[in-house]
Structure formats: structure tokens, C-alpha cells
């Protein structure tokens, strides 16, 4: 596994995508076919079945490292990664043995059925023959989570260079539920599959957030406005009477949305529509939370389908009657789209994203203000004559989001971060006043600069009241403006509310804790 360990280390050591691709291509050159398959699987988020409970791993590592359990836990909080903590606690290995990645994966699979005594013996034996970094990678095989900043896309790019196969085709081959155990590299990548071309999506055109005033965009009659829906961007493809649904992450998600099944009969062959997949019920969009209950689920149950049915809110069309029409002006594409949606006549799964009319920018600004009423994030502004471009481009499409809601809150707990923020207090809990008592209502961990994080970290360390493992309660002194996109009632939270996308907007160094907002202020923001 030393070659795989070296790859992992190389990927870990650089933030430059070119170097990562280089490292991967080099690795693919060196590795055996079986190891390659496993590497691709691991970097795509697949993993061998978990064969050892992590609590055992902790206990065994502490035992061999001759330290008490509490000291292992203390170390773990500082390191921020279990696999790494174990590898560091361990004494230096006397002799290392080099075995393949596939060997160790099979080793772990075989271990699944062993009893605890045998597992312990085997795992400790394995640890003893590895160098620290290799041990760390081995532990990652057990605990999962190979996060080394390699996206699926990046891996596909490297694999494309290695195999000479187009990236899009590779992406398709890697979709779905393939099992690394039963795959032959040659057959998997080099056999023809006619579906690849059928399912091929177009790259999405992405908008930037508007950074100035909308009025700077000029004559409003040259612009089309629509709601900025808060769902999942999706591309629906019907070709050869087959349906494919792609998410913006270039993931094939057809099976996750069985509602769309009928579209292959309702839409003509050679249709590719761009839109937002939204949870939608009784004529209006539900909040993103509803959709979230469906994402990440392997099986979409009947209950989920009833509670959070989805529609495609269509706003663009890239292919009509088998022809790529991305170069037509937006309004012409829109005409075709409207005609198709009208003919399909299945409003319970396919709707058109309405145009928001306004005679001037003030009118539209007024509409934008009402966005939350529609569970939308603001308006989209699109130039009426714009073509459908590739990737994120400035100029023709803009996101015009509503301003977030804000509240001034007091930091009362801080927790150490993980990964690159390990050993720094970066995750905070905030509270507002309920009479003379501080009630926690949200956590937030983003929005500060590195410099500010260091300042807060120093404050936490100097102003700790109590320690609970990785968490410290701190003197309630620091005030932050917390921004969020939505607020809902919640019975699961002490405060009675749950926020959407909370983050630290500003550090209010000008405000003492006594001037932070109250629970009543927070309730006043709840939507009626």
C-alpha cells in the first residue's frame, strides 16, 4: 500500500489541481488494475464495508500506546481526526511490510466475520507493520472519509488522461451502483455502452451574484426576471424514450425522483430542459428542508413521496427536437420551452418558472422583497437576448438575492474544529437574551477571516469557564451579527426555532453583550 500512501500524501500536500491530476496520472501508470479500481472507488466515496467498530480501534490504540482512554480522547480532540490520532499514538514500527491496497481491503473484508479477539489481534498486527502515514491511510480505509480535495471531476480528468477516454463518457461509466469487487478494469472502461451518448448532459450555465445595483444593468425591458428557486438545479433529458436526470454536481439522480418517470412519455425525444427540482405541494413550493429529506436517501419511500413530492420548475431548454439550441436568444428558447411544457400538460411534475413583470427596477426590487413568501431566495435577472453559456460567466445572468435576516447574538460555547481547522476553536454556539438569561439558538462556523478566527481562538483560550471534552463554555462577551436565509419553528431546539444557513456576518466589536438581541426579536422574524 506504500504506492497508494504516496499518492494520498501527494494529493494531501498540494492545493493545486494540476499537481493533483499529475499525481493521479502517475499513480494510474504505476498501480495494478485491481488497485486502480479500488482507488477510483475510494476517491468516489465508496468504501469497503466497515469491519471494525471505531470504539474498538480507540481502545486498542490506547492500549498499545500505553495511555489511558481519556488521554486518547483528549488527543483526538486536538488532532481532529480519528485515523490520524491512532496512527500518531502508536509507537514506531520496527519493520514495515509492503502489501497492496487490494490486499488490505480484502483483509478488512475477511475481518468482518471474525470475533473481537481475532479482530484485535489482526488489526494490531497490521498496524505494527506500517509506517505512521501508511497506518493513517489504513485507518482511513476502516473509518471511511477519504477527503483529500479530489473531486469526482478531477479524478475523471486524470482517468481520462490515463485511458484516453472522454471525460463525459467516464463520468457516465462511474455513475450508479457499481461494485469495485466485481469489476475488471479493461472491461469496465473499454467496452462500449450506447447509453453514454444518450444520457450526455450539457454543462450548466451558472450565474454570479449581482454585486452592484440592479439599475446599473440599464434598461429593465431588456431583462427577464424570475424567482430564484431554492431547490436543486437539475437537467432533464429525454432521448430515445429514455429519461435521465442530472444534478448540478454532474450526478445522475434519475432514480431519486421517480415522479419524473412520466416525462419520457410527455416530452418529445431529443429534449433537454434546465430547471429547479423543488419540493412542491398544493400549488406552492415547500422549504428546502423538505427536499433535504429526500437527498442522500438510497430508497425513496412512499411516505417521503407523499410528504415531499417534487416538480421541475423549468426555466430553460438546451435541446429541442434533437437540436442543440443553446445559441438561440433566451426569449426564443423560452417560447419553445413554454410550448413544450404546455403540450406536456402535467403540471403536477413539470411547471414553467413564471416571468416576474415590473415596469422599472423599483417594481422588481419590490417583488424581490416578497421572495421569502414564495420560499425563494430572490430574483434571477437574465438578459433577454442571452445565449446559454458554459459554466460560470459574468454579464448576462445574475442572481439578485434577498438580503439575509440578521440578529446580534452572544457567543457562549466554542468547539475545536476538524480537519484543517483542528486545534483551533472555530465552531461557536450563539445565544440571545430571554430577560436576563442567555438562550442558545444556533451554531455557526463560517464567515470569519483566518485572522479573526485566531483572535476568537485566543479569546476562547483566555476566557474559558468550563471544559466539556472538545467544547468550552466562555465568558459571554463577544457579539456577532448572525445572518441566515430563513427561520422556522422547531420543537427540537431549546430556543424553539431553527435557522437556515446561519453564518457570522460581522463581528460586532462595537457592541457589549448586554446589547445583543432578544428571543422576542428572533420570534418576530418567524414567518406567519
Amino acid at each position: 500500500m506504500q504506492r497508494f500512501t504516496r499518492l494520498f500524501n501527494e494529493l494531501d500536500q498540494t492545493t493545486k489541481t494540476n499537481q493533483k491530476v499529475e499525481a493521479l496520472v502517475d499513480y494510474f501508470q504505476d498501480a495494478s488494475e485491481k488497485d486502480k479500481i479500488w482507488t477510483i472507488a475510494l476517491l468516489s466515496g465508496k468504501r469497503p464495508p466497515r469491519s471494525v467498530n471505531t470504539n474498538f480501534l480507540r481502545a486498542w490504540a490506547a492500549e498499545v500506546g500505553e495511555i489511558p482512554d481519556w488521554l486518547f480522547e483528549e488527543s483526538y480532540h486536538v488532532v481532529g481526526d480519528l485515523a490520524e490520532t491512532i496512527s500518531l499514538i502508536f509507537p514506531q514500527s520496527q519493520q514495515t511490510v509492503n502489501r497492496s491496497l487490494t490486499y488490505w481491503i480484502n483483509f478488512l473484508k475477511d475481518l468482518k466475520t471474525a470475533d473481537e479477539v481475532e479482530k484485535k489481534k489482526q488489526v494490531i498486527g497490521a498496524w505494527l507493520q506500517m509506517a505512521p502515514y501508511e497506518r493513517f491511510v489504513f485507518n482511513k480505509l476502516i473509518t471511511g472519509g477519504f477527503r483529500v480535495g479530489v473531486s469526482q471531476k478531477l479524478m475523471v480528468r486524470a482517468l481520462s488522461r490515463h485511458t484516453g477516454i472522454e471525460e463525459n463518457k467516464l463520468a457516465h461509466k462511474l455513475m450508479g451502483n457499481w461494485q469495485p469487487e466485481n469489476i475488471d478494469f479493461q472491461e469496465f472502461f473499454f467496452s462500449d455502452n450506447p447509453e453514454e451518448d444518450l444520457s450526455k448532459p450539457y454543462p450548466f450555465y451558472l450565474a454570479y451574484a449581482l454585486d452592484g445595483e440592479a439599475s446599473e444593468l440599464g434598461d429593465p425591458s431588456l431583462w427577464l426576471a424570475e424567482r430564484k428557486w431554492d431547490g436543486i438545479r437539475g437537467q432533464v433529458i429525454v432521448r430515445d424514450q429514455k429519461l435521465y436526470v442530472w444534478s448540478r454536481g454532474e450526478e445522475l439522480v434519475t432514480e431519486k425522483f421517480p415522479e419524473f418517470g412520466i416525462l419520457k412519455d410527455k416530452l418529445p425525444d431529443g429534449t433537454v430542459i434546465d430547471g429547479e427540482i423543488l419540493a412542491f405541494k398544493e400549488g406552492k413550493p415547500l422549504s428546502f428542508n423538505h427536499l433535504q429529506t429526500r437527498i442522500g436517501r438510497k430508497n425513496v419511500s412512499g411516505k417521503v413521496l407523499r410528504n415531499a413530492p417534487v416538480v421541475l420548475m423549468a426555466y430553460d431548454i438546451m435541446e429541442a427536437r434533437g437540436k442543440d439550441i443553446r445559441n438561440l436568444p433566451l426569449m426564443d428558447r423560452r417560447d419553445k420551452l413554454e410550448a413544450l411544457v404546455y403540450e406536456a400538460n402535467c403540471r403536477d411534475v413539470l411547471r414553467i418558472s413564471e416571468i416576474i413583470h415590473g415596469k422599472d427596477w423599483d417594481d422588481l426590487a419590490h417583488e424581490r422583497k416578497s421572495s421569502r413568501k414564495y420560499n425563494s431566495e430572490g430574483l434571477m435577472l437574465k438578459k433577454k437576448d442571452s445565449t446559454y453559456k458554459v459554466g460560470r460567466k459574468r454579464g448576462d445572468w445574475w442572481k439578485w438575492k434577498v438580503d439575509p435576516m440578521t440578529i446580534d447574538a452572544v457567543m457562549i460555547y466554542a468547539m475545536r474544529g476538524h480537519g484543517r481547522r483542528a486545534n483551533l476553536y472555530t465552531d461557536y454556539t450563539f445565544a440571545v437574551w430571554d430577560k436576563d438569561r442567555l438562550v442558545p439558538f444556533t451554531k455557526a462556523y463560517s464567515g470569519l477571516t483566518d485572522q479573526e478566527i485566531r483572535e476568537v481562538d485566543t479569546f476562547v483560550k483566555k476566557n474559558t469557564i468550563e471544559r466539556f471534552g472538545p467544547v468550552r463554555s466562555v465568558k459571554p462577551e463577544l457579539v456577532f451579527e448572525i445572518a441566515f436565509e430563513g427561520i422556522n419553528k422547531s420543537t427540537r431546539h431549546k430556543s424553539g426555532v431553527a435557522l437556515r444557513f446561519p453564518r457570522m456576518h460581522r463581528w460586532r466589536k462595537d457592541k457589549p453583550a448586554s446589547e445583543a438581541n432578544s428571543l422576542q426579536d428572533l420570534y418576530a422574524l418567524l414567518e406567519p
Partner: protein, 346 residues
């Protein structure tokens, strides 16, 4: 009353009327070593090892009232016998031993066990009370022999040279920088230094310390001089426009904190080398065992965990808070912050 007490000015010996590494101005200060959090400005009299003198004068001015001693030399103040012993942390660093009526205290200052060839070899001193740092007082911190780390650094330097890149290595300017300079393979190329590093080099050379040849990077520095060289710079230089001179370059940091992957990734440098001037977990435990101390006081670092560990092993231990940059030195990994940044020893 114990011989030493922790006061708001520093570690105080009432009997002798002296403070050790005080953080507020006092009349008489014993200084374990020249780092900014131990040797502060504004004391009436300074007493330190003679190798610390040039550094103190460079940093605090030549007009300070300063007296020096050699290792093992005894001074008697009002019945208290005081002596300095090698701590192996940086050049001139010392553990300070105080004895009164047969009761012995040792203040370790900062220390490391491995002999780096420059700072003197750490010497265990038998005592009853041992006041210890524990910057790296968790079992995840274990150092490899410096020879192996320098092999890695030299290999990396060689590779960069072959790729037509300059090599930049970051280490704090007093101690780490000189240790790196001595560990470099000068057959690969010339060693360039940041001004803050070179000022210390100069002061030490004037004092008779022999160091590898270095070239100061001055304002009129010409890119043509780079030529496969390595640049030794303090943490405060990372990310500044000063670095542009060396483009294209590969940058690495030499620090004990680099032992953790999270810290390495946070700094987003090309390489992190685990090289510390502090004792690792094994070193701390070894030093405490060899001191034979009955009572240990942990001052900075992972103090609570370390003291609990010692207590469970049957060594009485407590925690005292000081103004030494213990846990706080974690944050000083970053650029910016206080002016003493590049001297806070990590």
C-alpha cells in the same frame, strides 16, 4: 512558604529577591533564554547564560544592565544557591536550579532532549520541584531524529533546484533558523537569509558561534543570485510581498505543529517538516523521570492533560498559569499578529 511562588509578575523567589522570566518589570530577573515571551523588556537587572547576552542586547538594547554566567557556575544570594544548566532549547538556553536548605527547585524554561549540535545537550538536574513547559504534552507529538528530518529537507531542496525553483523554509529567527542553517547540505547551493534571521546570526557570530555561511537578502537583491538557493525566513515573512523576489519557489515550514495534518493543511504551504525545539511527549516524560522530582508544575502547553497524566502515574503535579506562550503559540502559527510572532517558539 515555598521557595518559588507564582505571582502576577512572574515566578518569584522571595528569599533571593529575584524573578525568573518575569512578564512584568521587576528589579532582578533571571532569564532562561532569549525568546520574547521569556526575556521581556523593562527589568532593572538581567542575569542569563553568556550565549544569551548578544540576543538580549540585540532585542532589548545594549544599555540594559546585564550579567552572565556559564553553565554549572554557582551564585549565592541570601542563602539561595543558583545555577544554570543546559536546556537544549536554543543557544544559551538554561534550566535554572535554586537550592535553599537542601530543597531544590528547577525551572526548565523551554527545553528539548535531542542534542541539536548547537544549543548544548539537555542535562537532567535532580530536584524536588520541577517547573516544566509542556507545549507538546500530548502523546500524538513524537519527533523523529533531526538527521532524518534534515535528510527530507535537503532532498526537497535538491528536487526544487532541479525543477528550477527556489526553496523557502520558514522557521522562527532565533533558534530554529540557526538549527536549520546548520542542518542544510551546503553542497546543494547557497543559503540566503531574511534580515531578521541574519541579525541574530550576526550577533551570534560576533559572540564566537560558528555557523554555515549565509547571504543576507537585501533591498537591492538581484534575482540572478538565486541559482538553486534556499531562503531561511521567519513566519512573519510568509505571504508578504518580500517573498515575490523568489518566484518561482516551493515553501515549507519547520515546526512541531507540522506533526498534525490539520495544521499542515491550514498553512497551505507545500511542505511541513516536523522539527521542534521543544521536548516531545517522550522527551517530557523522560525529563520528568530523570529529574526525580516529587512535585511537577506544568506552566504552558497542554497543561491540564499533562498534569492529570502525571498524577495518574503517581507523580504529583499541578498547573500554574503564566504569560509564557503555551497554548497560545498555536495561533502564532499564522502570519500577522504580534510583533514577537517570529520568535514564539513552535
Amino acid at each position: 512558604m515555598p521557595l518559588l511562588q507564582f505571582t502576577d509578575r512572574g515566578i518569584y523567589c522571595k528569599r533571593a529577591g529575584i524573578y525568573i522570566d518575569p512578564w512584568k518589570p521587576v528589579d532582578k530577573a533571571l532569564i532562561t533564554h532569549g525568546h520574547a515571551d521569556h526575556a521581556r523588556y523593562g527589568h532593572g537587572h538581567y542575569l542569563c547564560h553568556h550565549h544569551s547576552k548578544p540576543v538580549l542586547q540585540l532585542r532589548l538594547g545594549t544599555n540594559i544592565e546585564i550579567q552572565t554566567v556559564t553553565y554549572h557556575e554557582s551564585i549565592n544570594v541570601n542563602g539561595v544557591t543558583i545555577s544554570f544548566h543546559p536546556a537544549g532549547h536554543i543557544i544559551g538556553s538554561a534550566q535554572i536550579r535554586l537550592e535553599y536548605k537542601g530543597c531544590i527547585w528547577v525551572v526548565s524554561g523551554d527545553y528539548k532532549i535531542e542534542d541539536d549540535g548547537l544549543s548544548g545537550a539537555f542535562e537532567p538536574v535532580k530536584c524536588h520541584y520541577f517547573i516544566t513547559e509542556c507545549t507538546f504534552g500530548l502523546p500524538v507529538y513524537k519527533w523523529r531524529p533531526q538527521k532524518e528530518v534534515f535528510d527530507d529537507i535537503n532532498h526537497w531542496w535538491q528536487k526544487n533546484k532541479e525543477a528550477g525553483k527556489t526553496t523557502v523554509i520558514i522557521g522562527y529567527s532565533l533558534g530554529k533558523a540557526q538549527r536549520i542553517i546548520q542542518g542544510l547540505d551546503t553542497s546543494i547551493g547557497p543559503i540566503l537569509t531574511h534580515g531578521a534571521v541574519e541579525n541574530i546570526n550576526q550577533a551570534l557570530r560576533n559572540d564566537g558561534v560558528s555557523l554555515n555561511e549565509t547571504i543576507r537578502v537585501t533591498a537591492d537583491f538581484n534575482k540572478n543570485q538565486l541559482n538553486g538557493s534556499i531562503v531561511v525566513a521567519p513566519p512573519s515573512a510568509a505571504g508578504t510581498t518580500w517573498m515575490k523576489k523568489f518566484h518561482p519557489y516551493s515553501i515549507g515550514i519547520a515546526s512541531g505543529w507540522m506533526g498534525l495534518r490539520g495544521a499542515r493543511r491550514r498553512r497551505s504551504v507545500d511542505r511541513g517538516f516536523v522539527l521542534s525545539d521543544h521536548a516531545d511527549w517522550i522527551g517530557l516524560n523522560q525529563a520528568i523521570n530523570e529529574s526525580g522530582a516529587e512535585y511537577v508544575i506544568a506552566t504552558h502547553g497542554y497543561t491540564n492533560a499533562f498534569a492529570r497524566w502525571l498524577n495518574e502515574k503517581g507523580i504529583q503535579a499541578g498547573v500554574e498559569s503564566t504569560m509564557f506562550e503555551g497554548e497560545l503559540s498555536e495561533i502564532n502559527e499564522g502570519s500577522g499578529g504580534k510583533a514577537v510572532n517570529d520568535e514564539v517558539q513552535n
